[in-house]
Amino acid sequence: MHELAVTESILEIANRHATLAGATKITNIYIILGRLSSIVDDSVQFYWDIISQDTMSAGAKLHFQRIPARMRCNECSREFEMQDELAPCPQCGSINLTLVAGDEFWLDSIEIEKEPGETA
């Protein structure tokens, strides 16, 4: 449900960076998403098609790359990739775990078009 706010933020960041670089058009947008980020790709895409109209991002394709979540065991210090959100440490069975990665959500890069002769 909060995908609209998130999509507006993606549009703002992409257009701001592209304008600074002197671009005329944005063609692709690459987004990194931790496995535990509660963002629905399809929903972002749905809003994107509507709100990017009439901006330099119109028609740009969104690419989502999901990255795995990682946990650290507070008992045996083992670090491991999370398979199941509520599974214990695979080494010692402890449930005393800390999340070290998995809630990332950032705009990694954009692909832009520039007219020849313009410099960034």
Binding site: M1, H2, A5, I13, L86, I110
Partner: protein, 223 residues
């Protein structure tokens, strides 16, 4: 025409996080200890606020920001009736409060006269977890009738908590709720989480929660 790839590497919610940082700075400077109170609809957020006001009134001053999706002032009216300042924020259908909404709310509260701020988030166990507000602590009210499986079904919100309040414990004899199963789920997501079991109806356990609040506010004032 040339095509090139431009690195951006910017957090998508960075604009919200920046405003949250400013909110925190303001609350720190004025030494107002603030909590982001989250829960599903009907868990007892407003009841907990009213109970907290009852215990603290005459000793400490509290202000409340109430978030709701519909243009109603039911919750703010209840707080105002209890003698504390409240601001109602209508999110216009949005499922959560965000940092700019808190900034607007702070502008309308007598912060200089306040010791505490309680932000009552929109009743929802999913979206509020994703938006930082700038408050000092994330507090969740879970209630017995919701069932003992909620940590397992809404892990993200439990993972980000500083305090958990289990409300409506007076209903334990009447409802199927396995406290051990519930607590084990919480422990897996947030080891050692500070937890208070309360009943806003009987008043049981509210003292311990209020003491925690008072201690944290004193800590902030001592800084």
């Amino acid at each position: 025409m040339t095509v090139n790839r431009l690195p951006v590497v910017e957090k998508i919610l960075s604009a919200n996080d920046a405003v949250a940082g400013l909110n925190r700075k303001r609350l720190d400077q004025l030494k107002v200890f603030s909590i982001n109170l989250m829960a599903s609809p009907g868990a007892g957020k407003t009841s907990l606020i009213l109970q907290t006001i009852k215990i603290l009134s005459g000793r400490l001053n509290l202000g409340v920001i109430e978030g709701d999706t519909a243009p109603v002032t039911i919750d703010a009216d209840r707080v105002t009736d209890a003698g504390m300042p409240a601001v109602q924020i209508n999110t216009g259908g949005d499922c959560h409060l965000d940092a700019p909404m808190i900034d607007m709310g702070l502008n309308q509260l007598p912060l200089e006269k306040m010791d505490f701020l309680i932000v009552e988030n929109v009743g929802n166990l999913v979206c509020p977890a994703a938006f930082k507000l700038g408050t000092h602590a994330n507090v969740l009210v879970a209630s017995i009738p919701e069932g003992d499986d909620k940590p397992y079904k809404y892990p993200a919100i439990y993972r980000g908590l500083d305090v958990l309040i289990i409300n409506k414990i007076d209903l334990l004899p009447y409802v199927r709720f396995n406290m051990d199963y519930f607590r084990q789920g919480v422990e897996m997501l947030n080891p050692g989480l500070t937890t208070f079991a309360v009943s806003c109806t009987t008043g049981e356990g509210i003292d311990a929660w209020a003491n925690w609040l008072i201690n944290r506010a004193e800590e902030l004032k001592g800084k």
